[in-house]
């Protein structure tokens, strides 16, 4: 999975990269299942593997094939893994990685107080029962507010996205000539 | 709403009037402004007449015409209440300066006749600044004081920048930056003070200057508390606070080496503004040093008195030497005011009644004389748009009355007995000399060095006289100049004669000033010295 991700980071062809991206997403879904969060995994697949593709296609349709050109269009010098140009960012990322790992490893998570309470009090997902019901109830009660908010939010985002994309029609007409040649 | 509020807000009222008057009444603006200034003068003299001369004291009892309205009262949670009052009052120190301001404003209004373009803006700003200056001299609440103090900046910036000479942008910006630099840091100290002082009655933090002057009101352990030594960066906080405020005002005075804004500002500013700059702004610096720096940090004042005196001496001599070298008449006078204001500093530093009274009187007299001087420069500058000393010779033959007034002004400001400057400078020096035997703060040679300054002032003034006014008449501009250089006009007489007489009267009857401010200054000096020494012991311990 990680290799795929890394490949995305460095591969030349954008289309392939996107493909691998999906791969990564699926792999993540698998991980979620390992993490005993099947519902999340489903959502992941639906929203990402579904939603993002849908978005892409949606955009594609709006932009009558231009997105394909966009996607095909290559960062003129395709990124290799260790390029001098990328060296600073590599260093930076490795630094960040070091920091993160150092923290993640240095802490003994299970000894955290809340986990200490959680494990004995059975507040730990065993993987036996399905969480969907519970989550649903929570969503409808405790998380009702975020749920509603996010609906408004999505609406706003969609409106906005639609608005931005919509205008392009007029724009594209006078830009066809250039794109051709 | 007593006289003080009236004298402060009168200009604002007329300012509104001017703003409302349409452009076709543009000529009226001059008269409105002049009328305002005259009214203020009248009020100032009413105040002078009604003033109780024996009343004195460090607390509220020392002030008269006190007016105190609650202004900003905030609950600052953990800090308790913040109290800012609209708090006015005058004592023997501020009334003379108030009168001076009114007079100088009148003079400036008269000399504003030379302003030709964009009258509305000019007079609006002029009146705004007028109000601010009056307010500075009356305010007893530090916040209020600061507001007025800053309020002067912007009008001055525009007055110099819009109606000034060729390098006006530079001068205006320089002036603004200098002053703001000082005052912003002063703001920090103000905040610090406000955290250190509580109103004994209400127990709230307060900006009331009088409370700040009373060491009993300081909260224990506060930053500027005199009871215990707080240090900031290893320096005792009180000394630091004093230094900061002192620098802020020293820029205004101006004290060498913080004076370089002055020549530029003076040279670029139009005549009335130079008059106000020299006549009032500098005085505000001196007033601030005495009333605020010394009043609130007497210990630091005593502690630094030697340096302050030294600065004074340096300013005196340095300014005089510069004036000697100047080719531009206006610059020469500008530097001469640096030199003269040095006496003020010296007198304050001496912590003697003679020195301080002398210094305050020096402020008044310099206010009058610099008004005359700059106006006189303006006279020839408006005639031929040139004021370079080498370009004129033998003016005395050509414009006798003008020359006569110039001589009066010059002699008066070189400390000729019979004019106000003499008494002022003499007593400043006497006080300085005395302090060696009274309180051992200043060495005697400072007084003697100061008197050298008087000698030099004679040198540069007389040399200028000899170069510009004596000898056979000859101008750079030739015939055209000698036609333009007409002698004084009535309005110029109307300004110059009273000023000269005023200076003369003050010089012959100093009691008009001294007996007036005596009680206040005497109490002030003694109190400051006493408390200063007491707190200084704590500080050094």
């Amino acid at each position: 999975m990680l290799m795929a991700a890394l490949y995305v980071a460095v591969c030349r062809d954008v289309a392939r990269a996107i493909f691998c991206f999906f791969g990564v997403l699926f792999a993540l879904a698998g991980l979620y299942i390992f993490a005993l969060a099947d519902f999340i995994a489903v959502t992941q697949i639906l929203v990402y593997a579904g939603g993002v593709i849908v978005l892409m296609v949606f955009a594609l349709m709006l932009t009558d094939k231009q997105l394909l050109e966009i996607i095909r269009m290559e960062g003129n010098t395709g990124p290799r893994l260790f390029r001098a140009r990328a060296l600073p960012s590599v260093m930076l990322c490795l630094g960040v990685l070091a920091v993160l790992l150092q923290v993640v490893i240095s802490i003994d998570w299970t000894s955290l107080s809340w986990m200490q309470q959680a494990i004995p009090s059975g507040d730990q997902i065993s993987g036996k029962e399905n969480m969907v019901e519970n989550i649903g109830i929570n969503l409808m009660t405790r998380y009702l507010l975020p749920f509603e908010v996010i609906s408004v939010f999505l609406l706003a985002a969609l409106i906005g996205a639609a608005y931005l994309a919509r205008g392009r029609k007029t724009a594209s007409q006078n830009q066809h000539p250039e794109t051709r040649n | 709403m007593n006289w003080l509020s009236i004298i402060i807000f009168l200009p604002v009222a007329f300012l509104v009037l001017i703003l409302l008057l349409p452009e076709r009444f543009r000529e009226w603006y001059r008269y409105i402004t002049l009328g305002t200034a005259l009214l203020q003068t009248g009020i100032a003299f009413v105040i002078y007449a009604g003033f109780n001369r024996s009343q004195s004291g460090m607390g509220i009892d020392g002030y008269q015409l006190v007016e105190k309205l609650p202004w900003i009262h905030l609950e600052l949670g953990s800090l308790g209440r913040l109290e800012i009052d609209y708090f006015l009052g005058v004592d023997g120190l501020s009334v003379p300066l108030l009168i001076l301001s009114a007079l100088v404003m009148t003079a400036a209004a008269i000399s504003s006749w030379e302003i030709k373009k964009n009258l509305k803006g000019y007079f609006a700003l002029f009146l705004l600044m007028d109000a601010a200056i009056m307010g500075v001299f009356c305010a007893l609440d530090f916040f209020l004081f600061y507001v007025f103090y800053e309020l002067m900046l912007l009008p001055l910036y525009f007055l110099i920048g819009m109606w000034g000479g060729p390098r006006r942008e530079y001068a205006a910006l320089k002036f603004f930056l200098y002053t703001l630099f000082g005052s912003v840091f002063m703001l920090l100290v103000i905040v610090g003070l406000y955290f250190s002082v509580k109103d004994p009655v209400t127990g709230a933090y307060t900006f009331n200057m009088l409370h700040m002057m009373n060491p009993a009101n300081f909260v224990d352990g506060a930053v500027f508390s005199p009871a215990v030594v707080e240090t900031i960066f290893g320096v005792p906080a009180r000394l630091l606070g004093f230094a900061v405020i002192f620098v802020a005002f020293a820029i205004k005075v101006p004290v060498v080496p913080l004076h370089t804004w002055l020549p530029d500002a003076h040279v670029e500013a139009p005549t009335p503004i130079s008059i106000i700059l020299a006549g009032l702004l500098l005085k505000i610096g001196g007033y601030g040093i005495l009333r605020i720096c010394f009043g609130i940090f007497p210990d630091a004042a005593v502690h630094f008195s030697w340096f302050i005196g030294m600065l004074g001496v340096i300013s005196i001599l340095y300014g005089a030497l510069n004036a000697l070298a100047m080719k531009d008449l206006k610059k020469m006078i500008a530097y001469s005011s640096v030199s003269h204001m040095g006496f003020v500093l010296l007198g304050f530093a001496s912590f003697t009644v003679e020195g301080t009274s002398g210094a305050v009187m020096q402020m008044v007299s310099h206010g009058i004389l610099s008004t005359m001087l700059f106006f006189l420069v303006g006279v020839i500058y408006n005639r031929v748009h040139d004021r370079f000393i080498p370009n004129f010779r033998g003016l005395a033959g050509h414009m006798p009355h003008y020359a006569a007034f110039v001589m009066v002004a010059f002699f008066a400001s070189l400390g000729l007995p019979g004019f106000s400057a003499f008494i002022a400078e003499a007593f400043t020096l006497i006080g300085t000399f005395n302090s060696a035997s009274v309180n051992a703060l200043l060495p005697r040679w400072m007084a003697i060095a100061g008197s050298l300054g008087i000698l030099m002032s004679a040198a540069y003034f007389l040399w200028t006289l000899q170069r510009m006014f004596f000898g056979t008449t000859r101008f750079k501009g030739g015939e055209s100049w000698s036609k333009q250089l007409s002698d004084l006009r009535p309005i110029e007489w109307a300004l110059l004669l009273p000023m000269a007489l005023l200076s003369l009267v003050l010089g012959v009857f100093p009691s008009l000033f001294f007996n007036f401010s005596n009680a206040t200054i005497a109490t002030l000096v003694q109190e400051l010295y006493k408390t200063g020494m007491q707190q200084l012991n704590i500080l050094q311990y």
């Binding site: 908010v149 408004v152 939010f153 706003a156 409106i159 906005g160 | 900046l153 920090l188 905040v191 930053v223």
Partner: protein
């Protein structure tokens, strides 16, 4: 589990009352969309009027929420503190101004795709802002921040036909997305460390219990999101470019309200993470931020960029108030925000108006304008004085209060950084003078005889400008008008 449910449900229902303004906002949002769809074609001014009226009403309603102040509802999702409430009112007022401005903003008004969505988005943003101010749950925090961000992206890119707008929006969205991603990571760590998303005492204690390094990392990464909104170092890089590209009305909004919201949410967050040594770090951030902002502004001749950098400097000042983590600090910050919002919106309104007239946003194009348009120019100068912090304009009192807060902080724990912060603030004030004075310099001191003004400024905008200026001065002289609400 069922009692559980019922409890939650009735709590939700109970909360709805307090939530009324936000609900109405949601409704207004939908209403606007419909309105735009149905009668957007015929009545061009329909949606702005509706939006204005709606926001006005809602703001008024909000003003009557004071007795609800301090309540926590939706199971701790939201916490309506006094501060939040005041912020909400500020948002309302600011939004009203923005809408009024937008109506007369050339680029918005003559946008090829109409402007219906613009106002609906503004309303949506307002909703997000309110939530930001109130949210006391990491989920809500994230949600509301994202809401504001995404709407802002769209608003910045709203004028789709302009290169700069597009570029700005792209930079904005990429930068913002990264920041939110980092923030999300931080939140996840926080969740991991404390096991709860509620910003409550439990959270505080648990966080305090954990390892300082991990907590620090989590907090820093979370800070990315707030910092992005506050345009605080090191998340300030986007500011200049985004400001330059976006239209003035958007800018008037962008430079003020999200900042305020960021402050609000940061305050909530700080309350929750009390154990962490915010003072030191915010002081450091504040010093760096204000210094960078002001020094970068020095060379700018493009007014938008100048104000962009100066707004960074102002966030530095805001951080000063936050660093002194006290009620005084909150009051100071709030007052500063009010003044800053009014002043900045006013400044951008003026810039926009002049841009409509001069078709330039460069200082040098203002030569001698002061004599052509005296009223506006004078107002501009007063606003600038407020930004510098010269009495009697409000900015002065604001700075004074901030300094007091900082000094109080110094008094409480002798942290020398507070003093440094104050000194930095003082120096920056002087530095700010350098570039702010460019404007009056060009307006009044420089002459430009050849200038001909074809168009006059629109009366509506002039009215707005004068009102704002008057307000600035008024609040400067009588700060209680605002501060009163903190008492008790």
């Amino acid at each position: 589990m069922l009692p559980h449910i019922s409890k939650n449900v009735e709590e939700v229902l109970g909360s709805l009352g307090f939530f009324l303004p936000e609900l109405l906002l949601g409704a207004l949002f939908l209403l606007l969309i419909l309105a735009d769809l149905l009668l957007g074609r015929r009545y061009k001014n329909g949606s702005p009027i509706i939006a204005f009226a709606g926001v006005l009403i809602i703001t008024l309603i909000t003003c009557f929420q004071f007795e609800d102040a301090g309540k926590v509802f939706f199971g701790g999702m939201l916490h309506l503190s006094v501060f939040a409430l005041l912020l909400k009112i500020l948002f309302g007022v600011g939004m009203l101004l923005v809408i009024t401005f937008a109506v007369r903003d050339f680029r918005i008004r003559h946008n090829e795709k109409g402007w219906g969505d613009f106002f609906s988005l503004l309303v949506a943003v307002l909703l997000g802002l309110n939530l930001m101010a109130m949210s006391s749950n990491l989920l809500m925090v994230f949600l509301s921040i994202e809401m504001v961000s995404i709407c802002s992206y769209i608003l910045v890119g709203y004028t789709t036909r302009e290169r700069l707008a597009a570029e700005s929006s792209m930079k904005y969205v990429l930068f913002g997305a990264v920041c939110s991603a980092v923030m999300l990571y931080g939140i996840s760590l926080l969740y991991g460390l404390t096991g709860t998303l509620q910003l409550n005492s439990e959270f505080t204690t648990r966080l305090a219990a954990t390892d300082a390094l991990a907590a620090g990392l989590a907090l820093f990464t979370t800070l990315a999101g707030f910092g992005f909104k506050l345009s605080m170092f090191p998340f300030h890089f986007w500011v200049a470019d985004v400001y330059e590209g976006s239209t003035n009305s958007v800018l008037a909004f962008l430079s003020t309200l999200p900042k305020a919201a960021g402050v609000g949410v940061l305050v909530q967050f700080m309350h929750a993470t009390y154990g962490f040594d915010w003072a030191t770090w915010l002081a450091v951030f504040s010093i760096i931020t204000m210094t960078i902002g002001n020094f970068q502004a020095l060379w700018q001749d493009n007014l938008k960029r100048m104000l962009a950098y100066s707004s960074i400097g102002h966030s530095g000042f805001l951080l000063m108030g936050l660093a002194a983590f006290s009620q005084t600090g909150e009051m100071a910050v709030y007052y500063y925000l009010v003044i800053y919002t009014l002043t900045n919106i006013g400044a951008f309104v003026i810039i926009g108006m002049l841009a409509n007239i001069l078709h330039s946003e460069n200082v040098n194009s203002y030569k001698g304008l002061g004599f052509k348009m005296p009223v506006v120019s004078v107002c501009f100068v007063i606003l600038l004085m407020s930004l510098i912090g010269i009495p009697p304009a409000g900015g002065f009192v604001a700075k004074l209060l901030l300094f007091s807060a900082a000094l109080e902080g110094y008094g409480s724990d002798g942290n020398i950084l507070f003093l440094l912060m104050m000194i930095a603030g003082a120096i920056n004030t002087v530095v700010a003078l350098f570039y702010y004075l460019k404007i009056p310099l060009n307006l009044f001191l420089r002459k430009n005889e050849g200038m001909v003004i074809v168009a006059r400024g629109h009366l509506l905008l002039k009215a707005v400008i004068v009102t704002l200026t008057a307000l600035t001065v008024l609040l400067g002289i009588f700060p209680e008008l605002v501060m009163r609400y903190f008492e008790g």
